[in-house]
Assembly symmetry: C2
Homo-oligomer: 433 residues x 2
């Protein structure tokens, strides 16, 4: 019995408890085969470490699965903050898209139930959330290659460089309904950290003055408003929309990108910037996690190499795709024929990447600032128990992010970004000031 054939009474949304879930899964032959053994023997635990959804891990005698069910509200906040169940539909659409383009870099979908807003996926084991690994100082040798492939493949093949304009518009329309998730980003990343907002928080009292300065800094307000407009009205590609290190699961041998429920057609730089911004925070938080000075020096050097590698490998792979797979309506080959045409198009590709890098620098900065002055913080900083040490790492991150956002064009290479990060790493903020 597939989900299409189920009793219609089961096809209405309800929040699943563990026993309901067991009965529900027992009716799905592919799931039963994947898990093995008798349903009564399956272990089911709700891990729920996300901000929005229920997440169950289910294990049988043969294998395991992860089951994600959307709640009609933001789990972190409760029923007072409703959020449409349709996000499960968009997440499923995005997973299918990503699985096609980056097949081993996302969890395989085993089952999707639209009315229940539920998706069952392969269990990623022994993967851990990358953010936790970075806090522990673990290096991931596959990461640069994997994430750059994920970014290059998913972004290029949903762009005007690979699609006809008609295909692109169809895709865009298919994700236009996911606006409630976009709105979270618009508010929490592009607006609230720069104004008085009830949900904002920061490490008091150390960052009080900086937070106040950001709320008054009109240059920043113009810069973030331009980025917000780009986020809202630049459908360059189908982006993941929430690609921080908490949305990446890793082992030392592989990487998987999870949780694309914020997916929509937006600016490519938002995804690339999410990765780079979160790596910068991991780098600048690192000192807060050391037990003795300099203990994590070689890890930090690896972090900087990783940041450089993400952009340079993404850029190399994206350009290679553009040279060989440009079947889209953008930059038609027929306008760049012959040797001179090919050379001019190549120069234009480089110019395109330079503009994309500017966007990436700006969005990286926005992602950093929201994690320190806005609602949703990250454990890179939160797990630094000493609040002053935490505030030092955060202040350094804010200082770098402000420069990146206001002077994005002065960062013409990823090396310029890591150089600035290295410099700010040793800056001592004066909290008395």
């Amino acid at each position: 019995m597939t989900s299409q054939e189920q009793d219609p009474s089961q096809r209405k949304y309800r929040i699943l408890r563990e026993t309901d879930l067991r009965d529900y899964l027992a009716g799905l032959p592919p799931i039963v085969a994947q898990l093995g053994g008798s349903p009564t023997d399956w272990s089911i635990s709700e891990v729920g470490d996300g901000n929005l959804n229920l997440v169950f891990l289910v294990k049988g005698s043969h294998g395991g699965i992860a089951v994600k069910q959307a709640l009609p509200y933001v789990r972190l906040v409760g029923e007072s903050w409703p959020l449409p169940l349709s996000r499960a539909h968009y997440e499923h659409l995005a997973l299918v898209h990503q699985a096609r383009l980056a097949p081993k870099l996302v969890p395989a979908v085993l089952h999707h139930d639209g009315p229940l807003a539920l998706t069952a996926m392969e269990l990623l084991e022994p993967h851990i959330i990358m953010r936790k690994g970075l806090i522990a100082g673990t290096r991931y040798p596959r990461f640069v290659d994997d994430i750059s492939t994920f970014l290059a493949q998913t972004l290029f093949f949903s762009s005007d460089l690979a699609l006809t304009a008609a295909e692109k518009k169809q895709g865009l329309a298919a994700f236009a309904g996911n606006h409630a998730l976009c709105k979270i980003t618009e508010d929490l990343i592009f607006t609230d950290p720069y104004r008085v907002a009830e949900q904002n928080r920061w490490t008091v009292p150390y960052l009080d003055a900086t937070a106040a300065a950001f709320r008054e800094d009109l240059d920043l307000h113009v810069a973030i408003s331009r980025l917000k407009l780009k986020f809202m009205a630049s459908p360059e590609a189908l982006i993941h929309g929430d690609l921080h290190t908490g949305s990446i699961m890793v082992t030392d041998r592989e990487s998987r990108v999870i949780d694309p429920e914020f997916a929509f057609y937006g600016p490519m730089g938002f995804d690339i910037g999410a990765v780079i911004g979160n790596l910068i925070m991991a780098y600048l938080a690192s000192t807060g996690h050391e037990r003795s000075p300099g203990e994590r020096a070689s890890f930090e050097a690896w972090m900087l190499e990783t940041i450089e590698g993400v952009w340079s490998e993404f850029s190399r792979k994206f350009l290679a795709l553009w040279r060989s797979e440009a079947k889209g309506d953008g930059y038609p080959q027929s306008l760049f024929s012959g040797e001179a045409g090919a050379a001019r198009l190549e120069a234009e590709r480089q110019a395109y990447m330079a503009r994309l890098f500017q966007d990436t620098v700006g969005f990286s900065a926005a992602k950093i600032i929201r994690r320190i002055l806005g609602l949703a913080h990250n454990i890179d900083f939160e797990w630094i128990a000493d609040e002053k040490r935490r505030a030092i790492s955060e202040a350094r991150s804010l200082k770098l992010a402000r420069t990146m956002m206001l002077e994005a064009p002065s960062f013409t290479t990823i090396g310029a970004v890591t150089k600035a990060a290295r410099e700010v790493r040793n800056w001592q903020p004066d909290f008395a000031g």
Copy 2:
């Protein structure tokens, strides 16, 4: 009996002939009331001066209507070039949007039939197509005020400055299906004039060398490709999409914008550029229509004032709306509070308009080039019977357009554009060269 209640057999698409149309309209009470008299006495004539559709003028004893029916192919070319009937749906949607925002500047819709791809509108009488009036040297004192209101109102109120991001995405999705019409623009404006294409034509032999030069000019190919990408992936507002002087009907007392079947969410500069590019062509064609040298000097001076007025009045009205009606998610007021915030936001508004002007200059140029080297020409030039005189006006237009497209940032004011137009007006091309 409304269209919803008709016999279902009548609700399938069929191409209406005059007698079918009479029977069909006789079943629509609001139409019968508008026309007056007995249906058998109505006069029906198919005027069909568009490139795509059937257009009937129907007159009764009391009043008249215009009826537009889409054909499943491009009328100008025939059944070998199919085109979806759905364009009538998008045209109707756009007319409703425009009627709400610019109520007296579009024809009132009296009836729409989706399956028949048919719309009945008020008959515009004694309006004439503006392009014809300009060829005759007629001035339209209401035009600048009307078209600038139309542009400011329709563009501002469908932009991120006036809408929430959710409303904007809903609108965008509603028009995403109109991609076949967009594709015509992408091919005929943004690609074909710059490459060998069977449908291209130009005034031979005079423009042979120029046409060849445009096909080889890689700077132009980069510039037009950037504009094409902007057209495909910058949904700034619901644009008309084909706003040339053949889509505007005028008297000396009013102006109406017709035929928005190319409507979709695209860059605002494309609409403004369409108006300005077509006015520039009317200005540079003017000398071709004079019977004695200098005869049309004061008309030409009015044309230049009109070009300046379109941008400056559009800009003034758009800015005024932004100051008073900014209820959208873009540039949130809360980030620009207080006197300093208001001043900074005002400076950013000016910067936004400067960027929009650059787009406008580029799109104006693209609209000029396509009318001289592409498939669809315009009667401003075509009605200059002496081919050499025609070619002189066209060569001047191409020279100006090339400069506008390649050096758009050097045109910082509309005055710089009219100055360049005035200068090129007296340039003598050397067709021997």
